[in-house]
Amino acid sequence: MIKITNESFDLETEFKCVSSNTNGAYSFFLGTVRSDLSSSNKKIKGIYLECYEELALVQLKKIRSKALNNWKLNECLIIHRIGKLDLGEKIVLVITASSHRANAIKACEFVIDSLKIDVAFWKFHLLDNDQKEMVLQKSLDNEKMLKWKDIIN
């Protein structure tokens, strides 16, 4: 299941969507908006997430399919918020479900690492003066992705 939404989501409700007696392990990743300083050293009051939704859905489907196949998952759920989000709000949820924990954990890490550099979302910090400041891609995120190249076909 893949969802791009400007609505918040409930963890228990989403867990029920992937829950099954065939699963022995679930791994969760939940990303939230943290209180932070912008690149110009100003306090942020939230974020704005821009998305090219048609493309992002295609890209998320590819990532999900790779995760399902490589780690023999029973289910993989990805939800990503768009629009304006306040501090503390949920941004992204990944749940992977498998028979055993190792596959669920690895697959969950792969999905969020891929999502960071391969899906058409752009983050802006919202500043106190109502200005938006673009968030730059981190080189660390690209480096993290390199480790999956030998694992994923």
């Binding site: 821009e50 090219y52 990503h80 960071k116 550099i117 752009w122 891609q137």
Partner: protein, 84 residues
């Protein structure tokens, strides 16, 4: 023929618009379109010089500058992504 250009992130901010509808007399390559856009607005020179920007034609990444652009196509300009 008509094509749609979609702009995201800093490119959208820089151009002060999220999309353009372009009317052309004939099919052209991506390379020819780049030159055409630069001739219309020098901001495009800066965009095309940024090697981190990716271009997607009808949801597929362009990997050949000679790729032909056809009537009804949608070309998207994508700076490095920052989701998650």
């Amino acid at each position: 023929m008509n094509i749609t250009l979609k702009y995201f992130s800093w490119i959208r901010v820089k151009l002060k618009k999220s999309h353009d509808l372009i009317e052309l007399k004939q099919n052209i390559s991506f390379k020819e379109l780049k030159n055409y856009l630069i001739s219309k607005d020098p901001v495009f020179k800066e965009i095309f010089e940024d090697k981190s920007v990716k271009y997607f034609l009808n949801l597929s990444e362009i990997d050949d500058e000679n790729q032909l652009i056809n009537n009804g196509d949608i070309l998207a300009f994508l700076p490095p992504v920052t989701g998650g």
